[in-house]
């Protein structure tokens, strides 16, 4: 833990200009992840700019049917919102599958997107980690990898993104709205988080100093059914071994639209494009779902110690889609 200065931002503009002048500054909102990291020495920052109280806490149902969620909306409030519950069940369920009641009361929408991996080696400054200190090496390889990636990892980092909320938002084609000194910008959530590649210390494509102000989610498709299923080692307050956010539109038993994202398996919420493609136009049923899951997971590259996650993810995807069909009938 380092000594640090604290600045309570007076406005979005104040926050952005303050951080723009101080590359060693970080934003603080709910603090449920950052404060832990400051205590553990994982995050070393000289200036904390508090944005948790800024007026970014509205949930607006826009005229085009989309939803605009303020960056500071607490996870608990978002999960309880009537429109989220009725129109985006996949998102409500994902939120409620995350963390604990106490944490959801504090954790914000933007902070949830920006939370860092729970890789045990990343969180322990006495073990080498390329994400924490580039060039040190990855301790997960050859180590404890139960919660590590099976898709899209690199030899430099096997970490997974821990969010549930972001997995649902990824399936829903959400956009991240952010502000920097040049003004407001948008980034599709599918492009927001990164794969580790050779720069595992970079979790996202958010420009340095930018402040997320909202997340926008388009209107759900007509006739869509969606849900979120999370498989974990205990029934609450545990990160996903694997999770599935899925939305299906079927007509007369044929799949007209499928949007699927996987959690707990990659450095980012994993949009399962291959599975989606395999489902389109096919009859909804276990054979189709299994073929789609196989197609997606053909690209999996598990580590020694987490091979089971490939089969687990395949089965979870199939069970989730079957559950959607059952609920639908």
């Amino acid at each position: 833990m380092n000594p640090f200065a604290y600045h309570r931002a007076t406005s979005v503009q104040d926050a952005v200009t303050t951080v723009a002048e101080r590359p060693d500054a970080v934003y603080l909102a709910g603090g449920t992840n950052l404060v832990d990291h400051m205590k553990l020495g994982v995050a070393e920052t000289a200036l904390v700019v508090d944005v948790g109280h800024l007026p970014l806490y509205d949930i607006d149902h826009l005229d085009d049917g989309s939803l605009r969620i303020g960056a500071d909306v607490r996870n608990a409030d978002l999960a309880a919102h009537p429109i989220v519950r009725s129109r985006y069940p996949v998102l409500a369920r994902a939120l409620l599958a995350g963390a604990s009641g106490q944490l959801r009361n504090l954790a914000t929408t933007a902070g949830n997107l920006l939370q860092r991996t729970r890789c045990v080696y990343f969180q322990d400054v006495t073990t080498p980690c390329n994400k924490r200190s580039p060039g040190q090496g990855c301790s997960a390889i050859g180590g404890y990898v139960r919660y590590h990636a099976i898709l899209g990892a690199s030899p430099h980092c096997m970490a997974t993104h821990p969010s549930d909320m972001a997995v649902a938002m990824t399936a829903l084609d959400a956009q991240v709205v952010y502000v920097d000194v040049d003004g407001e910008h948008r980034l599709p959530l599918t492009d927001f988080h990164r794969l580790p590649g050779e720069e595992p210390h970079r979790d996202t494509n958010l420009p340095a100093g930018a402040l997320i102000t909202a997340v926008e989610i388009p209107a759900p498709l007509d006739g869509a059914h969606s849900t979120y299923r999370k498989v974990r080692d205990r029934n609450s307050y545990a990160f996903a071994l694997t999770s599935v956010a899925a939305e299906l539109v079927t007509e007369d038993g044929t799949i007209n639209s499928a949007r699927i994202a996987l959690g707990g398996v990659a450095h980012k919420p994993w949009r399962a494009h291959r599975a989606e493609h395999a489902l389109l136009g096919q009859p909804a049923g276990e054979d189709t779902f299994t073929a789609a899951a196989d197609h997606e997971l053909a690209q999996a590259e598990p580590l020694e110690g987490n091979e089971f996650k490939v089969e687990l993810t395949r089965r979870t995807l199939v069970a989730t889609l079957l559950g959607l069909m059952e609920g639908h009938q």
Binding site: P3, T126, L312
Partner: protein, 693 residues
């Protein structure tokens, strides 16, 4: 020997310490408000074996607010270094990763933590060995195992009986590293003043801690006072001081007159305050086809540390649980470059019963018998280990009562055939056992403080179990007064000597002393004593202990639901029925029993400290990565007990209840999962990947 007429005993008196605890006014060790405290943050070894060559403390020393930095090169010498767990900073050797090798003392906790991170340590690293293996050529037999039990036992001709057995179960069961993780971290305030030490400590035994620490620092016990009024759980890990206490006292000696506060972080609790050894248990059960057990063999491999031996008594339960003429048990240890394992939640009985009771389930399957019937057929008339009669066994009643209340029958023994949609459903049963112990060395003082009012004093502690309440009830009955007339005083070495809150012996041992003191008090002062009169008396030894098999027993039931797709496990319900002797307080008893059962569920499905042998330390070092069961894991749980009085255990007729709840519950869960799926998992914890096949 039951002598106490129960009036307050047996009533569900609400916890007397409850209002103070829920309003935050009950002080825990680190919360005492003392003038001008300083804060201590440990420096820990980041290698598992080797030698410290240098500690650069310049940046830490230069940090504003830092008072002192302790290192292995300048720490005071201890008077006694025979306890390898407590002995730190006496040389530059590193024996395990996380070992305390120094500390920073500062005006704030934050400054101390920051400055501790600025100390640079250089090492000569040696190859370490932290991995337990049954093939380790250096395995050895300790002289005895924990609680003074023999290391090995043999009765009859086990090998011949196994050779001739019509049915044989021959399997290996493993349990992982587990850490106690009480809610309140290990913490203390040490104050060194005029050659005397005052320690506010989170401990399970103030007098036991005083004896250890006085020896360590070469102090007369009278110069050491230890206070523990409220303790936020211990589960064994606070049954003795650990090296953080040494560190705090060393720091206090460096700055006489200033209170030194040390509260370990959750992560540090995975390094230096004890844990349960992993166990590798090989069981062989021989039986006739109709399920009469002819032989038990239970061989255990587990670990200890290079700095101090701790040998968990894992196989002792197999020596006495069921009838069989031929029984053999053994314990072998590996001395590894790890921190010292210690007591954790029914050490011995808990992991041993897990293995034994799953093996019993396997035998029931092999004999095509209902698992309850198998146990009934092997019910011993007397304690198989000693030949003594049971004081109050009644396991059969626990099993039959439980079966009825749980709805055990009818049960299709075929596994994997019952389901509800996606979810396979199974039920499991296991027996529980825990010895009824009375510890020596207890005394109590009774003072008449006003007409009809009494102060009752003993250096007992309440670690969250209800001691404040239960001892008050006992005191009221032995003095024949209302509970309101009793002012209980506990948690201080200034009070009469008391044994440690461990081995489920607290209420039995302390209650016996209070009973003895009350009898002597009435003898000395009559029924209408003059205010101010005082009597102190020691608890007598229980002569029946040598003549009876004195244990609590229980039967535990679980219903498991397992996803046929993902292997996810949901335990729908658990029930325990216990033979526990006379109940002192049904409310606190039920809490203890369902708490223990929950820990057993937690052991079955969740708890595992993962040691990364490349580094040598536990890498799942917080409560997000070291899973204990959450509320959502236990939809329905209940504990019942037989109406009972143990004529031989103590004057109250009670037996301890702290640990029996955890014994057997993991096996009941494991057996239910087998019944649901047909997959027999023998390695804990059981997680979804083991059921994916």
């Amino acid at each position: 020997m039951t002598a106490v007429q129960p009036h307050a005993i047996g009533t569900a008196l609400t916890r007397l310490d409850g209002p103070a605890k829920v309003t935050g006014t009950a002080p825990y060790a680190c919360e005492y408000q003392l003038d001008a405290p300083l804060y201590l943050h440990p420096i820990q070894a980041t290698i598992a074996r080797g030698r410290i060559t240098a500690m650069d403390t310049a940046d830490a020393q230069a940090t504003h607010g830092v008072t002192a930095v302790l290192t292995v090169f300048d720490a005071p010498k201890l008077a006694d270094t025979s306890d390898g767990d407590l002995t730190i900073l006496q040389d530059n050797q590193v024996h395990y990763r996380g070992q305390l090798i120094g500390a920073v003392l500062a005006e704030t906790a934050e400054t101390a933590r920051h400055a501790a991170g600025l100390v640079r340590v250089d090492y000569d690293t040696e190859t370490h060995h932290t991995e337990l293996s049954p093939e380790d050529p250096d395995l050895y037999a300790p002289e005895e195992v924990n609680a003074g039990f023999p290391t090995d036992t043999t009765d009859g001709d086990v090998e011949a009986a196994l050779r001739d057995a019509e049915v044989l179960v021959d399997q290996t069961y493993t349990t992982p590293h587990e850490h106690n993780n009480p809610m309140e971290p290990h913490s203390c305030i040490a104050l060194w003043d005029n050659g005397s030490l005052t320690l506010y400590d989170s401990t399970q035994g103030v007098h036991a801690a005083r004896e250890k620490l006085a020896t360590l620092f070469g102090l007369e016990p009278g110069r050491v006072r230890i206070v523990a009024k409220n303790v936020g759980g211990g589960f064994g890990s606070k049954g003795a001081p650990h090296s953080h206490n040494t560190l705090a006292i060393m720091a206090a000696q460096r700055v006489p007159g200033r209170p030194i506060k040390l509260a370990l972080t959750r992560q540090q609790m995975f390094d230096v305050v004890g844990y349960r050894t992993p166990t590798i248990q090989h069981l062989k059960l021989g039986a006739t086809t109709d399920g009469r057990i002819t032989a038990f063999r239970h061989d255990v491999v587990e670990q200890s540390a290079t700095v101090k031996e701790f040998a968990e008594q894992t196989a002792v339960v197999t020596r006495m649980m069921y009838a069989s003429p031929n029984r053999a048990t053994s314990h072998r240890l590996a001395k590894l470059d790890v921190a010292v394992p210690f007591w954790m939640r029914a050490p011995g009985e808990c992991p041993g019963t897990y293995a034994l009771e799953v093996a019993m389930d396997e035998l029931a399957v092999a004999c095509d018998l209902d698992p309850i019937e198998l146990r009934l057929r092997n019910e011993p008339d007397v304690d198989p280990e000693t030949g003594n009669p049971w004081s109050d066994r009644r396991l059969v009643e626990c099993l039959s009562t439980g079966a009825e209340r749980f709805g055990w029958h009818p049960r299709n023994p075929e596994p994997g055939v019952r389901s509800n949609g996606e979810w396979l459903i199974g039920t499991g049963v296991a027996s529980s056992v825990y010895p009824a112990m009375n510890m020596p060395g207890n005394a109590a003082r009774i003072e008449c403080t006003a007409p009809g009012r009494y102060a009752v004093a003993i250096g007992a502690v309440d670690i969250g179990t209800g001691t404040w309440t239960a001892l008050t009830q006992i005191a009221a009955d032995v003095l024949d007064c209302d509970v309101d007339a009793v002012e209980l005083q506990i948690g201080d070495t200034d009070l009469p000597s008391a044994s440690v809150e461990g081995g489920s012996s607290g209420i039995s041992s302390w209650g016996t002393a209070i009973h003895a003191a009350a009898q002597q008090f009435r003898h000395d002062h009559g029924d209408n004593p003059t205010p101010g009169v005082t009597t102190t008396a020691e608890a007598p030894e229980n002569e029946d202990a040598q003549n009876y098999g004195m244990y609590s027993f229980g039967a535990q039931f679980a219903e498991a639901h397992v996803s046929r797709y993902t292997g996810e496990i949901h335990i729908a319900r658990m029930l325990g029925v216990f033979s526990i002797g006379r109940v002192i307080n049904p409310a606190t008893l039920r809490s203890q029993l369902i708490g223990g059962m929950t820990m057993g569920l937690s052991m079955a499905l969740h708890e595992e400290s993962v040691r990364d042998h490349r580094f040598g330390h536990i890498v799942t070092r917080d409560l997000a990565s070291y899973h204990i069961s959450a509320h959502a894991d236990i939809p329905e749980i209940d504990a019942l007990w037989l109406d009972s009085v143990d004529e031989h255990s103590n004057p109250m007729g009670s037996r301890g209840a702290g640990e029996i709840g955890i014994v057997g519950s993991a096996a009941a869960v494991a057996n239910a999962i087998y019944h649901a799926t047909g997959v027999r998992v023998r390695d804990l914890p059981i997680m979804c990947d083991a059921l994916l096949s």
